[in-house]
Point group: C2
Chain length 319, copies 2
DNA sequence: ATACTAAATGTAAGTACTTACATAAAACAC
DNA sequence: GTGTTTTATGTAAGTACTTACATTTAGTAT
């Protein structure tokens, strides 16, 4: 293509724009043709009137569904077509909300008058496609079908997620990340609960309260920024406790918690853990869901916790 | 496809609408993704900023050309991008009309931030197209190229013209068309000149003034309606004169005049004409052009005409 | 130098929709 | 039957442009 055609140079990046441009060209030309015939008729009404010409009578929503338009668009067209007396309306007998639309005789006449033009548009389009030697209609249909299985939004989103995740590195404790450990955890605790004494102790001095007794702290790092953390305490006799797990809000929902928790569990396994448990609160739906997914089971009756907020205890099934 | 999808059922007739729908879906999803990243950035600015990121500095019109947008669209984007400080502007030194736009550092930063998303959009789109198993980009390019050689408008227009022409029948004089003969001719004479005595005579009684002396009158009939007429008078000794040619305004420009004139000439030939001439006025540009095209040559010096409006005489070169 | 045309930009209003919100009737839950 | 949710429709305002028109400056002809 033309060297100056920047949009075409962008290739896949500007597919939407290119489709739009082609569509605008085609629809603009058709609109001009309608105008030339100076029928008192707007091209945008065509699909709707044509539909009503095939069907007895339809409600606003039914039309919107068939034409894949929003209902306000149909309401607007309906009012315009009604004022031109191309359609008639009456209330549905069984449902007083519904406004049933049907084509009028005047409407039928326009469709009939339009017929030769429509046939010509159809033929010219077919000719254009044949001349181009590509089955554009088939291509569109295929792409539409693929989009039905997964939308562009989801494709890009999950692609971004994968990419981001591949960039996130898990590292063991480093003293330069002490403040991150504290701030990330204070974040969620203060959002949902209140800081307790043991929180302050552990967060201010993880070395003393987690590492020295044989536990560990891990960080999730993305582009030199700490975006998540987890602690695992060693209570002796093979008993480990997962705690102080936090992921920065803007990175939540990206399975970073899962990555951290997996790391903590494998640490415990390496230390020949006999039991791994955690205490939490059912308010933290996302966290509980994650624990559940990774294999933690709720302990029915339990007591003694260092935190007021605890209302659930879960243990990990070591094989 | 879904039985309820009326637009797809229309096939070639609704190609534009389908392209638009697909484009809207894709572009809407991309817009949603930008929004999710809450960059202070509108998707519609993207192509322009991206272009400015590649080029040093461009004027409004240059950008419009490159992006195939209208210049007011670019003016609007430029103002928005300027107020967000994504672009800088300065006047061209040589041309005080031109407003040269360049990307700012802030703008470069956004493009950089956008980069991973752009790459993902590109990848996901490529994936979508591969999954669909069709080369949509190639198809679009092909169709665009075909449209460059002839626009949809011209295709449909010439198709309609051909179709209409195929429906127009030329018939010899019939008395039921007498009024049409009169009215059609009075139309153009009164529009450009004034009716003269001989006009009234011939138009009121073509049988006497044209037919009885061995001339002929033909009609162009479309769907039982007379839309054009021509007379050819036999002046004796093999001399024939074409006159009273008229085509209804709404059917002008469709070569119906050519059809009538050809018929008249072949009538004269059948009658072993030695000379066929006509008198006209240079005001009637379209008619003169037609005579010229069909082989009539201007007679340099001539006198004696039955009409005041005559200022040109042409003869047909009989082989 | 003057007059005209053309080019570059700007502005207003329209177009073909959309999203967001409002309202009324119907359907359902209990 | 009463309250709540859902469905069908309507309305207002926004969006991403366009067309039509206006203004200013440049270029060209005389």
């Amino acid at each position: 293509m033309n060297q100056a055609d920047f949009i075409n140079q962008l290739q896949e990046l500007a597919l939407g724009t290119r489709l739009k441009r082609l569509s605008d060209t085609l629809m603009g030309d058709v609109a001009k043709i309608y105008k030339d015939e100076h029928l008192d008729f707007e091209p945008r009404w065509f699909t709707m009137l044509y539909l009503l010409n095939k069907e007895k009578s339809l409600s606003i929503i039914e039309i919107a569904d068939r034409l894949k338009l929003t209902h306000p668009a149909v309401v607007q067209f309906a009012n315009q077509l009604k004022s031109k007396k191309f359609v008639l309306e009456k209330k549905d007998k069984k449902d007083a909300r519904k406004r049933m639309l049907a084509i009028s005789n005047k409407g039928k006449l326009v469709v009939e008058k339009l017929q030769p033009i429509l046939i010509q548009i159809e033929n010219s389009t077919r000719e254009l496609l044949q001349e181009s030697g590509v089955d554009l209609l088939y291509s569109i249909e295929k792409v539409e079908k693929s989009l039905l299985t997964q939308s562009m939004y989801n494709r890009v989103k999950s692609g971004l997620k994968k990419h981001l995740l591949s960039e996130v590195k898990i590292t063991p404790f480093q003293s330069k990340y002490r403040t991150d450990f504290k701030l990330l955890n204070e974040g969620w605790i203060q959002k949902f609960f209140t800081l307790e004494k043991s929180d302050n102790q552990i967060l201010s001095n993880p070395e003393k309260y987690i590492l020295e007794s044989g536990g560990a702290v891990f960080f999730a790092v993305h582009q030199k920024k700490v975006i998540g953390t987890i602690g695992i305490s060693n209570h002796g006799k093979g008993v480990f406790e997962v705690n102080k797990m936090a992921v920065a809000e803007e990175f939540q929902g990206l399975s970073i918690g899962a990555k951290l928790l997996t790391e903590a569990i494998s640490f415990a396994k390496k230390k020949r853990a006999k039991q791994v448990y955690l205490e939490s609160n059912t308010k933290l739906r996302a966290a509980i869901h994650l624990y559940d997914k990774l294999g933690f089971k709720q302990v029915e009756n339990f007591n003694s916790s260092s935190y007021k907020r605890t209302n659930i205890k879960m243990t990990y099934a070591l094989n």
